[in-house]
Symmetry: C2
Subunit: 335 residues, 2 copies
């Protein structure tokens, strides 16, 4: 089929769909209140004689009960004159049914589209990076005023690294920021789940948690180490590092959490051996994932009040520094 | 590709997937409890010297805190002899990691499959007959011991007419039955939603409603008039009857609720005019949908304690009879 042919076909298809759907243009609904059993009998008689008058619900006379009748536009004048001639009590309830029918149809379609958005149950399963990204991408559609997805770069294997920002939608700019990341270490599966749980608490359970968004915006990155995390799902459950090759052809991956520039290599907790799980890389920030995390921190640093990196396991709440046991000089800020 | 070729290809594909997934066969996890800072230092030294020993979590000596180390099978004997020679406190925590890894993987896949089953939100949208059937069909997978779907026939337009039976799964046979149907009248959309709501209350909210299933089985048919109901979604919102042609070429459909054999035609509330919304049909049970409803009632009649047909609207609770105003002789059964 040619392009023109396609367009004509689509136009025909569309108009046939529109024609098929009855729009109830100028259909009216009247409400009657019969006063006694003779009026009830009259209405029953009319219901039999006028198949085009659509009596909604049973016709009964008791306690000011009402009966409604729907009718096509061409019947309206005959109904009114008949009702008037019998001095029935009635009123016009709906002048034109079509906007109501259309509104219900549109609202129903919208509701179903919302229900078809990706949904996840963080307490029921662990999700892959692709599933988490699809879910993040659906949130601005669900919460157009409160959720925004930003991509800050790519993993070594070209997975998009995404960040969700959450506000209360009050339009106040430059609120202080709380930044949370997850899955710096691939095998720590509870970490992205925790990030997703926080997201759902802030979005789905806004009612219960709105004070958390009163004076803060939240920036949440559920999966930093996207390649490693996918690898734990598809290949090796206990993989920890990135998936970028190293100088050692037998050993892959760098520990993102040892790859930052601050005091890089000046610690006992990292290694220069590419085969170790705590390998710090050849140079600071030689991993695309740590670069992305740096760029996010730099972007939000003027507003950043709190940064939490979710790991597992050990029931620790670790404060700076990481490279030394010396106390962070400003540590009373954490007291 | 030939059939043999396909089979070989699939076998290769499967084994490559199986080979790619690391099974952690005979990987072990040991738990250590360092007694003092010198033992902590020794463990830190081992962590550096033995890249194949995977220390899970930070190595710290304080308050009987433990550290766990995971290692491949070939490392086990060297670990044990080293720990013993240093008289460390340790115990074997996991003898073989593989069943745990496999179990988590399998459970995760199962959870996700469950989440991918059709889900509906009866309070958010109205669903088509096809959507309701897909949902009903998913319930035995969710509740294998408590839900069962039976098809009792077809609508005039060959839509499958399905019934859900719900029990508490205690295995007690021949409990009294509560039968509920919905959507005898096509346009009464709240009726299938109400039936689905009852289904979800009995299945998803079993905890809160289990006394309702203690001594009764429930048989629920959300959509009797499948053709008419689909027609209200696709064509004409206020269609009421079936979609089977009548003796009048201009008028389609019969009122299922006037088509039953008991005192058929002996009432003021039905009509012999095929163009009326209360048309009773040419003969009793000349509609496939009323036949199906009859067959369901006959099948369950020895156990049937209560039958409720959901309609809208009017806030009425109608008791027998329907064809006459005479009181049902046994009406004190309903008091």
């Amino acid at each position: 089929m040619t392009l023109i042919g396609h367009i004509i076909f689509l136009l025909l298809l569309q108009s046939s769909v529109l024609l098929a759907w009855q729009d109830y243009k100028d259909y009216q609904v009247y409400e009657l209140t019969p006063r006694d059993s003779s009026e009830e009998s009259l209405l029953r008689k009319l219901a039999r004689e006028k198949p085009q008058w659509d009596f909604l619900g049973p016709i009964r006379w008791h306690n000011e009960s009402t009966v409604r009748v729907m009718l096509p536009p061409e019947e309206a004048s005959s109904l009114v004159s008949l009702f008037d001639s019998h001095q029935l009590r009635y009123r016009l309830l709906i002048k034109d049914l079509s906007p109501l029918v259309q509104a219900q149809r549109a609202e129903n379609l919208r509701s179903k589209q919302r229900l078809q958005l990706p949904h996840i149950d963080v307490l029921a399963a662990f999700y892959t990076h692709a599933e988490i990204n699809a879910y993040l991408d659906s949130l601005p559609e669900r919460y157009p005023k409160r959720a925004q997805v930003k991509q800050f770069g790519w993993s070594y294997e070209r997975r998009p690294l995404k960040v969700l920002t959450i506000s209360n939608g009050d339009g106040r700019r430059n609120k202080p920021v709380i930044l949370i990341d997850g899955t710096v270490h691939a095998r720590e599966w509870i970490s992205p789940s925790m990030a997703l749980y926080i997201i759902q608490q802030l979005l789905d359970n806004y009612e219960g948690n709105q004070e958390l968004l009163q004076d803060y915006d939240w920036v949440i990155m559920p999966v930093v180490n996207a390649d490693g995390y996918e690898y734990t799902h598809s290949e090796s459950r206990y993989w920890r590092k990135t998936r970028k090759p190293t100088t050692d052809p037998d050993c892959v991956g760098t520990d993102i959490n040892r790859n930052f520039a601050h005091e890089w290599g000046h610690d006992a907790g990292s290694s220069s051996d590419p085969c170790e799980d705590i390998y710090r890389g050849e140079r600071p920030f030689d991993q695309p994932e740590s670069q992305v995390l740096r760029d996010i921190l730099l972007q939000y640093s003027p507003r950043l009040k709190w940064y939490l990196s979710l790991h597992s396991y050990g029931n620790y709440f670790l404060l700076p520094w990481g490279y030394t046991n010396t106390r962070f000089t400003d540590s009373n800020r954490y007291s």
